[in-house]
């Protein structure tokens, strides 16, 4: 529909992409710069680039500990998400009394932003003794309504005759789930894995509320705390930023297709 010449489009997109990339570049540059980073004027390319800020971050805070915490929480969240959402999604493909009510309940839960529930959620978590634990951090994220509907849609799309064929082939009912349903829902599973990973990896407010113990901090908490503790080492702070961003970005770039598919299907669901 556009009649713009190609170079105009390329120029426009080039400018926008540059604007989108500049912050990333600026941080990367700062994290590598050897000279005094408060020197004026700031240079556009890193001078005397070195990696020592990364080494500083690694040793000056328990980076590895934070990384492990983040990874543990993310693994709990991802596994729980896939299993629980698939189960709930499967249940919603069946007919039963109160199905409509359950769906309404799920949809209205989507209307309750997590931020709104944070105080009682904190009190509840305290009462069941999960403050300062990985499970406590992971639990609220363990099932997500959007992904339940992604699974439901995916299961609904499997032709009923395929299940019949499997029954004639002699597959026991419980194995139909693993032999037929799961392999055919791979994209829903991938979507769920990626969304759950990004959500839990980036989660900040909830851990901030329930984690007091230094040993239990996750990377975003560590990052935010690093900001306040270490005033004079900007280079290390930005090295920290890069170290935190890389895993998320790598996962995103690897699984871009499923990620975007998941977001749009989730978004289309409200």
């Amino acid at each position: 529909m556009n009649r713009f010449p190609k170079w105009v489009i390329h120029l426009g997109l080039g400018i926008i992409c540059a604007a989108m990339m500049v912050p990333f570049y600026w941080v990367l540059k700062t994290s590598l710069t050897g000279e005094n980073i408060f020197a004026y004027p700031p240079s556009l390319v890193p001078e005397n680039p070195h990696l020592f800020y990364y080494v500083d971050v690694w040793y000056s805070i328990p980076f590895f500990r934070y990384l492990v915490n983040s990874v543990i929480v993310s693994i709990i969240v991802v596994v729980a998400n896939v299993v629980l959402n698939a189960m709930a999604g499967f249940a919603l493909t069946r007919e039963f009394m109160g199905k409509g009510a359950i769906i309404m309940l799920f949809l209205s839960c989507m209307m309750i932003p997590f931020q709104v529930t944070i105080i009682p959620a904190y009190l509840i978590t305290r009462d069941i003794g999960l403050l300062n634990t990985h499970l406590g951090m992971a639990l609220p994220l363990c099932s997500t309504i959007v992904c339940i509907f992604v699974f439901k849609a995916s299961f609904d799309a499997i032709p009923k005759s395929l299940i019949d064929a499997a029954r004639i082939d002699g597959v026991p009912d419980w194995m139909i789930i693993f032999r037929i349903m799961v392999p055919l829902s791979q994209s829903a599973i991938a979507t769920n894995i990626i969304l759950a990973f990004i959500w839990s990896w980036n989660n900040f407010l909830w851990p901030l509320v329930i984690i007091r113990d230094n040993d239990m901090q996750t990377l975003p908490l560590g990052l935010a705390r690093f900001l306040t503790v270490v005033e004079d080492s900007t280079g290390a702070l930005y090295a920290f930023c890069i170290m935190v961003l890389v895993p998320g970005l790598v996962i995103f770039l690897l699984a871009q297709k499923q990620f975007i598919a998941g977001l749009t299907s989730g978004a289309a669901k409200g």
Binding site: P159, S161, L162, D164, A165, A166, R167, I168, D169, G170, V171, I180, P183, L184, Q186
Partner: protein, 366 residues
Amino acid sequence: MAGVELRKVAKRFGDIEVVHGIDLVVRHNEFVVLVGPSGCGKSTVLRMIAGLEEITSGEIVIGDKVINELAPKDRDIAMVFQDYALYPHLTVFKNLSFGLEMQKIPAAEIRERVEAAANILNITDFLERKPRQLSGGQRQRVAMGRAIVRRPNVFLFDEPLSNLDAKLRTQMRTEIKKLHETVKTTVIYVTHDQVEAMTLAERIVVMRDGYVRQIGSPDEVYNRPNSIFVAGFIGAPTMNFIACRLTEGPQGLSLTLQDGSALPIPAELAERYGPQKNRDLVLGLRPEVFHQDEAPVVNGSRARIAPTIGVVEPLGSDTLFFFDLAGTEVVVRMPPLVGLRRGDTLPLTIDMGKMHLFDAATEQVL
């Protein structure tokens, strides 16, 4: 060695009974086609035989066992689905071997059986492909292959050709017939297409609204339909139905149409239809019992009419002419006639010996 027997088999979904106590005996190695309009319960019957639907009442016997409570896999059946139901995530080979693996059959034997089936169906070249890389006809073959490898006693086909285009459908029809001759087993085949039923079946079961309306060989069902429904359902173009009354005149019995014109009844049928005098009847005439005036009529007496042609549909080998006969639109099948068009007069002879006469109230044949 296994026939299938249905004894008073019924199915209800909640309060609605969709199959009403059907009795049917399918002999060993017989090819039986269940045919009927959609919603007549034919697929439900098939799925009950397969064990995919619970049987509400009655019994189904395969061989000499009542299999009501058996799981599908223990019934010694195989089924080909309308949409093929191939596992999209498995290769053709795996699709074929899946059921055998479930039965814990040794790998060597699985390979042998799959290759044998692939040979019969000419799909050896596609064994490593995924279903989505196949054409419709190839998928159809794989679906049949999956049934063949199981070496079942009974094959169940659920409208297997309805997703194919017309040409392929004809071709696959022939292949299914050949297959039945190669792999001798009992076959129960469901379709809504009467042509498929006529060409494939040794016996046809015509169903409607959850009841069996007629069971018989294709010849019987076509030439001796027991009701207006069966007569109208089998055969294309469909049989012409004309409301009439049986009256006795000076020349003997004749059928008086609504416009007062009369068609004579052949002498040899007079005795059979005699008792029906002065009742509302329906005359059934197949399109091919009309002949051009000069054409020889082999048996029975003739009736002559000379209608004005309405719509003309040339089919190549034949031409269909539509015209009005006593207020009813009638179609006749003729050899291609040159030069006749809308508005022309077409003098016809009706071979009244091949007529069907039905009771207008009960719609049963007389």
